[in-house]
Symmetry: C2
Subunit: 292 residues, 2 copies
């Protein structure tokens, strides 16, 4: 059921992104190529799917919110392009493909990221069928989650912690800001766009926090237990880069237990939901068996 | 009168930016320092002042729209930080001060730009006292003007034209996209936020186009006739960089005439306005005697 849901949603997300990025005829073609290169480089579309699954979970139709959902994917993609730059993580490969700056050059990669981030807001604000006041609130939350108190702030901590062993609190803050904030914005946006009750939105927020934690821990585990083909980068790179992770900070076993705990807490957060939340439940379960 | 208007407006703009950037206690301090460094590096605040003057021109109170106005300044500042990067124009100085990456490093400068751009949208969408539907429309226009069909697109052309002599059409496109689009968004936003008539907004749009043209031509003239102290960068750098400008493409005399023509056309665009548009008229006039 989850597999089918993913397939269906990825199809409409990719179609929407393709159409949205095609509409701009005035673009100098090369920036358009650079934006599309990373946007269609095999992303899992997790953030737009979380948004739609949250809307589904409160009885609305997730696919009604594709402009906002796809905007989140554009913001996520911009952050990957900038993170990979030589002045940041200096990565040559992502998901087994050359990174944006290796293909288009550093200047163009910076601009492709800037363009994706900016255009994301344009697309998000083109969302039809939603009260303008709600759209303003949703977009503000997304901007806050992506900004210096969220994603950018997490990347700042990451940049400054290279070669340092972070303590647990700093590690937790970094991940909450860098990855967790946008997950949370995705799930809350799904609820808000669908007109969910305060109670449901609070539950989605709690689910998002546990989902983000489980996602990060399993990411760290995968860096040790995955294969290069699966994860698209050399295995054990965190250890070699002396990066603080849940595995280096604890052990593989303890990290696995912490992930399972977070998944349990995510389920508990959804207690007040019926079968409409089945996908959200399966999504967080699937983190425990992720291979990429 | 213009001088007093500028002084008053710059004061409230700077106070607002200071307050807006202070509110974020959760920021890792260094990103906050990097953002503020460029935001308070002596900018002329032209875009927020244009927005407020447009609102004044249609009988509203420009200072009511400080969140949107200051958001424009943050977007402008982010674009300067990224333009100065080694992978772009590779400038060490701007307005006589070290550029952001020379002070904070390249990675932090990229992130400071990203943070300013993202937070700009958060602040713009916090604008009170405006119908949500209008705020959505205004923010969408700003995003479109700053994105790949606007500012970023202009920078792409700039990046690719280094060492090439652009023809007139390409030069015009580059400036319209890189600088003109955000001027236009500023003036239209001022009108839209103030609830101006369609006719007035069309007139402000035409004024904006002529203002942008006059601004760019006088910028090119200044690169030849200004002093380093005035313009904050070495005189004649366009010529040395073999950059196409209105002066290299025509002559100093012809460029001066084209600038005067644009100023005349900007005045004509404001024919339907009364004394409330006095500041807009003085602003475009002042371009002909600019020294920075």
């Amino acid at each position: 059921m989850l597999k089918q849901y993913y397939q269906d949603k990825i199809k409409v997300i990719d179609e929407t992104l393709d159409r949205m990025l095609m509409r701009q005829q005035a673009l100098p073609p090369v920036i358009y190529d650079a934006m599309r290169y990373s946007l269609f480089a095999g992303g899992k579309r997790l953030r737009p799917i979380l948004l739609m699954a949250a809307a589904d979970a409160v009885g609305a139709k997730g696919t009604n919110y594709l402009p906002v959902a796809c905007g989140l994917e554009m913001i996520h993609t911009y952050s990957l392009i900038h993170d990979d730059l030589p002045a940041m993580d200096n990565d040559d490969y992502r998901r087994g493909k050359l990174t944006n700056h290796k293909v288009f050059g550093e200047g163009m990669a910076i601009l492709a990221g800037d363009a994706l981030l900016t255009q994301a807001f344009e697309f998000i604000l083109s969302q039809p069928g939603v009260e303008a006041q709600i759209l303003v609130a949703v977009t503000r939350e997304i901007a806050a989650a992506a900004g210096p108190a969220g994603m950018v702030g997490g990347q700042v901590v990451d940049l400054f912690s290279e070669g340092k062993r972070l303590d647990y609190d700093t590690l937790r803050y970094m991940h909450q800001a860098k990855t967790g904030a946008l997950f949370k914005a995705a799930l809350r946006a799904g609820g808000m766009l669908a007109g969910a009750s305060e109670q449901h939105i609070t539950a989605l927020t709690e689910y998002a926090e546990q989902f983000g934690l489980a996602f990060q821990i399993t990411d760290d585990i995968l860096d040790v237990t995955g294969t290069q083909a699966e994860i698209g980068k050399p295995v054990g790179s965190d250890e070699r880069n002396d990066k603080a992770t849940y595995v280096t900070l604890y052990s593989l076993d303890t990290a696995g237990q912490l992930a399972a705990q977070a998944v349990g807490a995510a389920h508990a957060a959804l207690n007040g939901f019926g079968d409409e939340a089945a996908i959200l439940r399966q999504m967080v379960d699937s983190l425990l068996s992720r291979t990429n």
